[in-house]
Each structure stands twice: as structure tokens, then as C-alpha cells.
């Protein structure tokens, strides 16, 4: 007697900073990619949980062995703890979509997981290993491709997925992009955080600043070009809350990402067949959480002026665009193909 299982398709964007899931049952969730285990018995008693994930983990970090298990969009190598953290994160995402370890047997989970464009086979194998048991069938795709698929931007388009760990570029020419049509840059949100942290600390040596504070400032006030409003933040200076103006530091840190991005865009454009270059230039789509930097689209368009101009569009829902694309792929893949992809 065979038991009828509910089929659940999910798209997962496993990000360095945030991870999101979009499921066929309508659930959509995003969590910060942090996993923490209570440091000792006392912490366990206080927190009343064996593992904390996302914002909850970040807020209680002083009592936790806290891990951010992804680095540049990939599972950090060489540590069982990081692998365990990724597994916890994946299971947490699935539980938000309605599949817990207890109810897992009732579902047939078809998952599509996005990885950076230049991820190696060994990185993809790591993801497969981490997903073991969590999904019945698994497809691994390049993140910018998932974005392109979800937006149906499949022809003469360039996707720039600006995340926390990496910036991924992908030119869509109506076929699955080859290595030559994709690029991954390490300059992304985390890189901006590091620059901003260094600049603020250098200018305000007495101020107590942490990378987590800097990350929050960036998420709230990042910009390139001119800003109408100054970026003022409050930091403890010798224990006393003090307001400091970090407008210039914010601009400098954020603008640092423009030259490598422009270089990669122009390099990829130069490889597009000449008759289609103008079309691609006029259809550049920026996704990813860091893509929300104010003024980034027009700034990149300025860079494109050197090759005849172009249009850059920033997607409105950058947090879910990757997982939504993954879900679209999952739903479109025929059932017999899913059977071939059983894990």
C-alpha cells in the first residue's frame, strides 16, 4: 500500500547574509544566515532552545557559539560546525515553509537551490550533501540564472545579483549560461561593510563600533553619488552615546564597489555578439539585497556611457527574487526529470 505524499516545490536562495525560501504552498520567508548554539548549560536554560537561527541568534549572540556558515555564497570549507549550521539553516527554512523534521515523511520535497555563478563542482557537491534528507530531489542552479528565469529575462539581458558575499553577473543569451557568460566578484555587501568599518574607525578612533552595527547602518543608509540627507549614527564614545556623521564614509565605501562592477559588466558585454550588445546594454537588471544602495542604477548607467549608454533596472523585491526564480524552475521542471534528480 503506497501512501500519497504532498509534493512541495521550493526555491531556496542560500545567501551569505540572508537566506530566503519561496514555496509552492504560498509561503515566503527570509532569515538572516546566522546559526548559534548555546555556549553552556546556563545559556541553554535561559534561551530554552538547543539552536537559534536568524535574527534570534544574532540578538542573543553573547550567549551563543554563533556561526555565519556561508562565505562568499558558499559553505565554508573544513569545519563540521559550519556544515551543521547550514543543515540547521536549511531545515529552519523548510520548517517555515511547513515541513518540519517530524512532518517531513508526509511530503515529497522538490528543491532548487541557488549558488554563486562561479561555484565549483566541489561546492555544489557540498550543497547536495547539506540538503541530504531535507529534500527528495534537488537541483542546483547559478543564482543569477535563477533570477533571470524568475523574471523571464532569458534573452539579451544581463543579471547583476549583488548579494552580501558575492556579486554575480550573468548574460542571458537564450540558453543556459556558460562559464564565459558568468562572473563572480568578491566585492559585495560584506566588502562594503568592511570598508565602512575601517573608514569609520579610522576617523573616530575613540568610538566603539562593531561590524554588526556597520551592517545595520549600511542597510539603512547606503548610497552612491549625492545624498540629500546626511547619514548620522549613534555610537558609544568612552561609554557615552554620541552622534557622528558618516555620510562621506558611507559614500566612499559604497562607491568602492562601482569600478569592479563596471569592469565586469563591460568585460561581459564585450563578449556578447556585436549585434546584440546594445540590447544587452539596455536590459541590465540588478537584484540582491545590496542592490538597494540608493543611486546605484544611475551610477552604473554613467559607467555604461563610455560604451554607448545603457539602462539599469533595480528589481523591487530583491530579497525574494532569487528564491522566487528557484521556485519557478522547480514548478516548471517535469516530474520525470525530478525523479532523475533524487538525492
Amino acid at each position: 500500500m503506497s501512501e500519497k505524499k504532498e509534493v512541495l516545490h521550493v526555491g531556496i536562495d542560500l545567501g551569505t547574509s540572508r537566506s530566503s525560501i519561496s514555496a509552492s504552498n504560498g509561503q515566503r520567508h527570509v532569515v538572516e544566515s546566522y546559526v548559534g548554539w548555546p555556549l553552556d548549560m546556563v545559556a541553554r536554560k535561559v534561551l530554552k532552545k538547543s539552536v537559534l537561527i536568524g535574527r534570534e541568534a544574532l540578538d542573543n549572540r553573547s550567549m551563543l557559539d554563533l556561526h555565519r556558515p556561508l562565505e562568499q555564497g558558499l559553505i565554508k570549507e573544513g569545519s563540521e560546525k559550519e556544515e551543521a549550521a547550514v543543515r540547521e539553516l536549511l531545515w529552519h527554512l523548510l520548517s517555515l515553509a511547513g515541513v518540519t523534521k517530524e512532518t517531513r515523511a508526509n511530503f515529497k520535497v522538490r528543491a532548487v537551490v541557488g549558488v554563486p555563478a562561479e561555484a565549483l563542482r566541489v561546492n555544489k557537491q557540498q550543497v547536495r550533501k547539506a540538503m541530504q534528507g531535507a529534500a527528495d530531489s534537488l537541483m542546483i542552479v547559478s543564482e543569477p540564472f535563477a533570477v533571470a528565469y524568475g523574471l523571464e529575462a532569458l534573452l539579451h539581458t544581463m543579471i547583476v545579483d549583488l548579494g552580501a558575499g558575492t556579486t554575480d553577473f550573468c548574460v542571458m543569451n537564450g540558453r543556459l549560461p556558460t562559464e564565459d557568460e558568468q562572473r563572480t566578484l568578491p566585492q559585495a555587501g560584506d566588502w562594503i561593510d568592511e570598508q565602512l568599518f575601517r573608514l569609520v574607525r579610522d576617523r573616530n578612533p575613540q568610538a566603539s563600533v562593531s561590524i554588526h552595527m556597520v551592517r545595520t547602518w549600511k542597510e539603512e543608509g547606503s548610497f552612491v553619488g549625492n545624498s540629500k540627507t546626511p547619514v548620522i549614527v549613534t555610537v558609544p564614545v568612552a561609554g557615552k552615546p554620541t552622534q557622528i556623521d558618516i555620510t562621506n564614509e558611507m559614500r566612499q565605501a559604497c562607491e568602492g564597489i562601482v569600478p569592479p562592477m563596471a569592469e565586469s559588466m563591460l568585460d561581459l558585454l564585450s563578449r556578447v555578439q556585436p549585434e546584440f550588445q546594445e540590447k544587452v546594454r539596455n536590459s541590465i537588471i540588478v537584484s540582491g539585497g545590496t542592490g538597494l544602495i540608493r543611486g546605484l542604477g544611475p551610477r552604473l548607467e554613467q559607467e555604461l556611457a563610455a560604451v554607448g549608454g545603457g539602462k539599469v533596472r533595480v528589481v523591487k523585491d530583491p530579497v525574494f527574487v532569487g528564491s522566487d526564480g528557484g521556485l519557478a524552475i522547480a514548478l516548471d521542471a517535469p516530474e520525470n526529470d525530478w525523479e532523475r534528480l533524487s538525492s
Binding site: 573544513g78 565549483l120 563542482r121 566541489v122 555544489k124 557537491q125 547536495r128 550533501k129 541530504q132 534537488l138 537541483m139 542546483i140 542552479v141 528565469y149 523571464e152 532569458l154 534573452l155 537564450g174 540558453r175 543556459l176 556558460t178 566578484l185 568578491p186 566588502w191 568592511e194 570598508q195 524552475i329 516548471d332 521542471a333 517535469p334 526529470d337 532523475r340 534528480l341 538525492s343
Partner: protein, 350 residues
């Protein structure tokens, strides 16, 4: 809309195929060859490899003229008269495949990467570059990075051969011989740069070739100091190996490692310059019979980079970048078995 749906269907087919290949542990389709092609390639390789690896014109020269010997070495004698007819035929065949205008396609030789020779530059009395304020010496840095690289590669199931694993002087040509005798598949020599412009910093990777650049000539002369070869000797030798498979694969390896070094290190070293992939006549590369590169992983002449090099974490980053480059190169040229997959093992057991 139907056009979009058609594109989607095609892409999904390709995507599923790619993932099935991943599950089955196959390399991407474009890297694979049919069985027939492999057989042809093997036969071709059997005939051509000796010519290609030695450098065909060098091979021909050995039948026709004594090879110019470096000082203190014995010249190769011409072939005995009785073998000249065979030699002439062989030379004709070789020349057909090794005409300078038609380099042998490296893709014909699906050489696998199993064993990596790691060469820690300098050692013993050859200290390399050094900086007084921080007490850093090139021979120590290269050995430390080499040891870290060894661990990383072994963890990734590569076999590793070290040309030195402690502070000892190993002659340049001996390093290549060690790699040759140990049947290494690629050779990675680790060095630290010194640039007269003290503000300059960055990474650069070399493969074997002649250069007209006086700066590179001087650099090569410095690195070759203990070899006994003159630059004139080098140029003659280089002319003979230009068109071979090893040359092209060395360039590819250099490009892959350089990209990895720059991509990885600029995160912790924001002012890092990509000084590029270059050809230069290093003796240590000449003596090898496999794709070989020399990576200048940092500049000790630059104060900021010297400070970074003093930190173990930065040296670990360098080793990781080199390992990633090697891995990436291995992935592109062959079907290297990935790490044993615990999940698959347990699956078999159930």
C-alpha cells in the same frame, strides 16, 4: 510568450542534464570526450606526447645538432649514422605536428591532475628577498605557505610532492627533476616579490617563456642566479619549447591561479594590484616536464604587504587562494574524483 516557453523548456533540459552529471560525478559535457575520441586521443598522445613534452624542435635538433649545453654540462651527441633514416622520418613526422604556426591543441591531451609538486622558493643559503624591520625572509615565507598549501591539497585528495619541506638549499634544476621523477602532474613554485617602486604591491604569476621586458629579465636573472645558466642559454632553450602542450597548459594554469590569488587576497588586502600573468625565463620552470608556474604571491618591498605577510592568517589566505586555483585548474582539465561523499557511502550501506 511561446518563444519564452520554448527557451525555458530548452534551458530546463540543459539544467537537469547538468545536475544529473553532477550527481553521477561526471565532468560538464563540454569537457568530456566520446570513447572514440578518447581512444584516438590516446593513440595520438602515444605518438605525439614525447615530441610535444620535449618540444618538437628540440627533439629534431637532437638528431641534427648537438644541443647547446649550459656551462659545466655535457652536450647531447648527434644520433649514430645507422639510425639517421629513422630519425629523419621521425623528425619529419614531428615537424608536421610542431610547425611553429600550428601549435598542438592542448585539448588533445586529457591529462589528469592527481599529483601536485609544490616548490617553496629559495632555502638554505639562498634566502631570497628579505626585509630588515620585520625580520621577514622569503625562504621562510615560501616554506610556510608551501606547508599550508600541502595540507589543503591533501585534504582535497591530491597527492603532494614537496621539493623541500625544511630549510635547505635545493638547486633550481634539481627541483624540476624531483617533480619529474615523482611524476607530478603540475608544478607550482612559490615566491615573494621585491619591486623597486616600494609603493607597488600585488600578485603576479609566471609561466615559462622569453621576455623583452627588462624588469622581468632582471627578475628572472635574480631568481636564476644559482642555476649556472646564462640568459642566452635560456633563450635558446626557450625557443625550442614554445609550441608544445606544456606551454599552453602552463599558461592556463597560471591564469587560473593568478585569478584565484587576486580574487581571494584583495578582500583582505584592498590595495592589491593584479600584476597579471607573464612569461619569463625561470630555470626552475624550464627543468619541469609538466605544466609549471611560478607565483609571486606578495611584495616584500611594500610595507603594508610585508606587515600582512607577517600574519599567519594572511599566509593561510595565500595558501587557500593557491589551492583554489589548483582545484579550479584541475576541474577544468579533467574528471577528477571529488572528495568522497559521506552521504553516498551511507547510501550504499543501506
Amino acid at each position: 510568450m511561446s518563444n519564452v516557453n520554448r527557451l525555458k523548456r530548452q534551458m530546463l533540459r540543459d539544467l537537469v542534464r547538468e545536475n544529473v552529471e553532477l550527481i553521477e560525478g561526471q565532468p560538464p559535457r563540454r569537457e568530456r570526450r566520446s570513447a572514440g575520441f578518447r581512444l584516438t586521443a590516446r593513440v595520438l598522445a602515444g605518438v605525439l606526447l614525447p615530441f610535444a613534452l620535449l618540444g618538437s624542435t628540440r627533439f629534431i635538433s637532437s638528431f641534427q645538432h648537438p644541443v647547446a649545453a649550459p656551462p659545466g654540462r655535457t652536450a647531447v651527441s648527434p644520433a649514430p649514422a645507422g639510425r639517421r633514416a629513422v630519425a629523419a622520418k621521425a623528425a619529419e613526422v614531428a615537424s608536421r605536428f610542431a610547425a611553429p604556426t600550428e601549435p598542438v591543441d592542448a585539448a588533445v591531451f586529457p591529462l589528469a591532475v592527481r599529483k601536485v609538486a609544490i616548490d617553496a622558493g629559495h632555502g638554505g643559503k639562498s634566502v631570497g628577498t628579505h626585509t630588515t624591520p620585520l625580520g621577514l625572509v622569503e625562504k621562510d615565507i615560501t616554506l610556510d605557505v608551501a606547508a599550508r598549501l600541502r595540507k589543503l591539497l591533501e585534504a582535497d585528495h591530491f597527492q603532494v610532492l614537496m621539493t623541500r619541506d625544511h630549510d635547505e638549499a635545493v638547486p633550481l634544476e634539481k627541483r624540476g627533476e624531483l617533480a619529474n621523477k615523482g611524476s607530478a602532474d603540475i608544478f607550482v613554485s612559490i615566491h615573494v616579490n621585491w619591486i623597486e617602486n616600494r609603493k607597488a604591491r600585488g600578485v603576479e604569476t609566471y609561466f615559462l617563456g622569453a621576455t623583452e621586458d627588462p624588469v622581468l629579465t632582471r627578475l628572472a636573472a635574480d631568481e636564476n642566479r644559482d642555476s649556472g645558466y646564462s640568459l642566452a642559454d635560456m633563450r635558446k632553450l626557450l625557443d625550442r619549447i614554445y609550441q608544445d602542450v606544456r606551454h599552453e597548459k602552463s599558461r592556463k594554469l597560471a591564469e587560473t591561479v593568478q585569478a584565484s590569488l587576486y580574487r581571494s587576497l584583495r578582500k583582505s588586502n584592498p590595495g592589491l594590484e593584479n600584476r597579471g600573468v607573464k612569461a619569463a625565463p625561470f630555470i626552475v620552470l624550464l627543468s619541469t616536464e609538466m605544466p609549471a608556474i611560478l607565483a609571486e604571491v606578495s611584495c616584500l618591498s611594500n610595507q603594508q604587504e610585508a606587515e600582512l605577510l607577517a600574519k599567519p592568517l594572511y599566509r593561510q589566505y595565500i595558501a587557500e587562494a593557491l589551492a583554489a586555483g589548483v582545484r579550479s585548474y584541475a576541474d577544468t582539465v579533467e574528471d577528477r574524483p571529488d572528495k568522497p561523499d559521506a552521504s553516498q557511502t551511507s547510501k550504499k550501506g543501506t
